[in-house]
Symmetry: C3
Subunit: 332 residues, 3 copies
């Protein structure tokens, strides 16, 4: 898996994401996207947030367009978030459960894409367990099609990264003085990687990646971050703490992986341990949570938790991305 | 299961259903809802019925709102009925197949709900195999969210109860002089219970619950009904006969349960046996039917059968409920 | 299977498809539909084609109507194509995954249909593995309901046939001088049969059905076609070549069926072999493709290939059929 990570050419993916006018056309990874573009996306997303007892924001920016959700891995929350974001922008949405149909008949992924393209699915939201699939698809689609990465193996989940950035910005303002601590299975987490690259671009003060050795990233994967194996050290004076689920489905050999209780004792983020962080620190989690494993349930429900805000921000961020790539397709 | 039934506190659930203005906000059970409210809902539903060769009724009462169908048990007809009811009121609809996604990752049901709430799913339609889940959820959601019970273990299926009431009222007018006979697996049927409590509230003349001993309800569960084990006795001079499917999936030990032929011989509702009922008696079934087991196929297709009317009334009743809870959310 | 084919009464199905005004009400099979009607459908479909970088065509011809996709066999492309066609005409769409719900509870197919009919699904798109199911359903629905066959065992797939006709017409103009060669598992292919009957009605010059003996049709099934077992002979001077997938799921005994390499050597359509056909011959495939088995990948991606055009034409043809049957329901 890390071999595959190393095989990627992020510069190439980054340039693939912009059209000839420098506008975002595909969203494959946050790596290589510059600060002004990220800030623009966060600003756009803010515009889609409304008070929680109002009706959600709507527009007709995608009227007449078709968004296809093409999930080769199961998903509830990300699929639902893209589905609602697209519908609230007026798009038609096609949800494909790809595990149970054409793939059984032996069709290649590109032929599935060409089929959707011919049906005029202008925007395809793709989740896949293999590294490089969204970029591979983006290299092959026609000019009127945009590819959005909704989760790519253990390497990239850019809309999750954006919603994490938006959540932090809304609570903390600027990034320059912040210490952000990501705790858990960093090695197998696309969430951690996308947040990390986005934070780096926005000039985060310090980024700490905290995990047992078996879940630590390769030293050269995110060289701008501090790799730490002691949770107490990692939490000290942090402003933002993000807890991660152990990605058991992506770990080839689970022998060295601690059980839930053992893990919680060493790496569980709890109210007690949060005393080491800044008093106004916020706690994040991408979901789904395993309460009592990577995060104490009472902390997840506490005033420090911004976990449901992350979900709300996720819809707003996806609306912002959808609107922006749709505009780039028009400008083409 | 009956232990669990006994553990419920219906008074508490009933009061939970109304907002501070006395309006219906959640629909969890028909127990405790008063006659004027039930009559209002049936009247509203009548307004959504159109001649069957016209286009179905539509409105924009739910425009801008999102309805989430959250089915933890498989369903075709109830899910489809809520889906169409919501779409015909202008809502966005999110259908979640919960068996195959987040639950595998160990997420708690409340965290799934909090996620949907953050995505601005204002109305959640919930089906679950465990007693108390809809009320449990209703106690935890925010003020801008409404919970509709679409089937709760063996205890409650309130929109089914309402559609049964509407079907009876359209054929028989008032309830005071009616004898209603429900036949079959009463013990494991949420359909029977919801119809029974609704009929009791509307002042039904007599309610008979007819089944073999192994499928009879506890004597104190519906004390207003007559428990009868002989089908001929139960059908005598009845105005309304409702046949029920054996809920094999909810019966822990199937040893004492008769096979199809044996069951039909003793408890199958047939044209022949219908001669014991009033000449203008109607025959109902909540579907899906097992023809030749609990009901004779030719009877289901006869002029006495109102089974497809029940389905049509189901969409109308769900539109009425959706419209009403949406209004209560606005009034909040 | 061929016994079942022989049991059908196509004349009867053909007459069932038209209402009293001679308008298309159900689409069950292309057999028996006359040339003017097929030409009208192709003309209508042309009107729904737009340049591929424009937004897709839309109308409100189905506003207020509900289309139910009732697929008893899994499908991605045909289901998606009908879904998008219906949505782009303004319909509400209900997608039912019938394998996982009511059928488990023992409901008959007609009771499922009656349920959807009562919910006001005016147009039902049905795919089923058994011969005769669409016609059987069409004989039982009410006057306000239309049935569209989306794939029926190995006998009929009429919208696929129409999209094949449209694709050929757009490239070749008239049919009278054309030689069309269909290559592969003719015996088990509903695609081949529907294309063959449609081509025959439109007066195709010559139709060749090319396959190994085990996959050849019965001699009397399509008596107007030439059955050929040598691929080179079949391709000679052909204008149109359609390659087919081996329908392994429909072949009772796979013992005599060649492996992929052996099959490709004898019956794979390749660039090399295409030299036997006319220089401007086009290559078609209904998808999903098995590259390197029935078709060479490089040929599928070549300028001669019209495979993705078939997909685009599929949406247009389905829009044309939906619009036309909806009009017939109004006229009733």
């Amino acid at each position: 898996m890390n071999a595959a990570k190393a095989d990627r050419i992020p510069e190439d993916e980054a340039s693939l994401q912009l059209n000839d006018h420098g506008e975002l056309r595909h969203l494959l990874t946050l790596e290589g996207l510059d600060m002004p573009l990220l800030v623009d996306l966060l600003d756009d997303a803010e515009g889609f947030l409304t008070p929680e007892d109002n009706l959600p924001a709507r527009s007709d920016a995608l009227a007449g367009r078709t968004v296809a959700n093409l999930f080769f891995e199961p998903s509830t929350r990300t699929r639902a978030s893209f589905d609602l974001a697209a519908k609230r922008l007026g798009a038609d949405v096609l949800n494909l459960d790809v595990n149970t149909s054409s793939r059984k008949k032996g069709e290649s992924i590109l032929d599935t894409i060409y089929t959707l393209e011919a049906m005029r699915c202008d925007i395809m939201v793709v989740r896949d367990a293999s590294v490089g699939v969204p970029a591979y698809i983006a290299r092959h689609v026609k000019d009127h099609v945009s590819i959005l990465n909704a989760g790519e193996s253990d390497v990239s989940h850019p809309t999750q990264g954006l919603l994490d950035l938006l959540t932090i910005r809304r609570h903390k303002g600027s990034f320059a003085d912040l210490t952000v601590a990501i705790v858990g299975d960093i090695r197998h987490s696309r969430v951690a990687r996308s947040a990390a690259f986005g934070l780096q671009t926005l000039g985060v003060g310090a980024l700490r990646l905290i995990s047992p050795a078996a879940m630590a990233p390769d030293a050269d994967d995110m060289p701008f971050a501090n790799i730490i194996d002691n949770l107490d050290d990692g939490l000290a004076d942090a402003d933002v703490i993000m807890a991660l689920r152990i990605q058991r489905e992506r770990i080839p050999n689970l022998d060295g992986i601690p059980g839930p209780d053992e893990y919680f004792a060493s790496y569980g983020v709890s109210r007690n341990r949060m005393r080491l962080a800044k008093p106004d620190a916020i706690v994040m989690h991408p979901g789904p949570m395993n309460r009592g494993v990577e995060i104490e349930g009472a902390l997840a429900d506490s005033a420090q938790s911004v976990i449901t805000e992350q979900v709300a921000n996720g819809v707003a961020v996806r609306m912002a991305v959808l609107e922006r790539v749709a505009k780039s397709l028009e400008r083409r």
